[in-house]
Symmetry: C2
Subunit: 209 residues, 2 copies
Amino acid sequence: MMEKKISMAVIRRLPRYYRYLRELLNQNITRISSKELAERMNITASQIRQDLNCFGGFGQQGYGYNVTELHQQIGFILGVNKTQNIIIIGAGNLGQALANHAGFSKRGFNLTAIFDVDTDKIGTKINGVEVLSLENLGEYLEENDIKIAILTLPKQHTQKVADLAISHGVHGLWNFSHMDLEVPGDVFVENVHLSDSLMTLSYHLNKNN
Amino acid sequence: MMEKKISMAVIRRLPRYYRYLRELLNQNITRISSKELAERMNITASQIRQDLNCFGGFGQQGYGYNVTELHQQIGFILGVNKTQNIIIIGAGNLGQALANHAGFSKRGFNLTAIFDVDTDKIGTKINGVEVLSLENLGEYLEENDIKIAILTLPKQHTQKVADLAISHGVHGLWNFSHMDLEVPGDVFVENVHLSDSLMTLSYHLNKNN
């Protein structure tokens, strides 16, 4: 697909479009105007048209959007139209919670293994997925097609483990460690810094009080 | 403190400054130039000066920043210089993981209760904090000083429970449900949409391949 350079802000909105379109499909709504979609999403119709035009524009004047098609196209753009293998590194509370998260498999993410250093955890299963020794990470990545690793390990080990994963073919890191990773230019890091997020919330409450 | 109108982008960067300053203090570094801080944080010195000037500017020409003071001031701005009570609503995997998250108490957030509807969970403790019946939420909020609620419950119940919490004095919602909340203007919602975040990562991988 030919694409213009798309801003990060637009990319970040795509999963939200995808979510609302999925809900429309669940309600058997197969056609929607940008105006009506805008009302549901609490944004302007012009914003919607502008965002979706980045990808060639799926709407038709006077008809609106074909929901099935638009949902499918955005899924394609996001790469969630196919199965993607992921692993979790760090089987602590957060790693376990993510392993049990039902939403990921619905979006095509297939958790194939969880890695940890704790011998009590190695060999057990979380949500049906085996916990393997971190020692075997490199070997495992060589033998399996894994592009995405979820990092939920203590921050002092995260950079080293990320380097190892990258050297064995991982190209995307979903980083929950409370630190910033240094990675080569062709690797993408998506950070979820929970404490930062909570502090942002705290700022807004304190500003108002 | 007198403040200019501060952009959301600056606010979102403050927790990161706070984190790096904490690390400097841990290394007994009490004074730092904007240039050196910039190198550590992988941003420009001019960005740092611009960001911190929003709050009156803490640096001194030729001296740099007093790390202790700057850390303290940013903590004050973020409201993490004092203890803030929080509750978790939804004791599923994610709620449990957050209840066990060590980072929050370090930043002054004091988890006082967890709410759920599951009678098997009610009365048990997670990380020393009791799980209470969701039926008692309103009463609990009336009797305790709680401004922040963490929402980790199934999305079909989230809006209703959020409305209830708001009607009993909650002003900040940390929303992990995969939906968008509608709230009054004086209530702040910070969303953590994990699936959206993972899809953003997926987009970048698919774009490159």
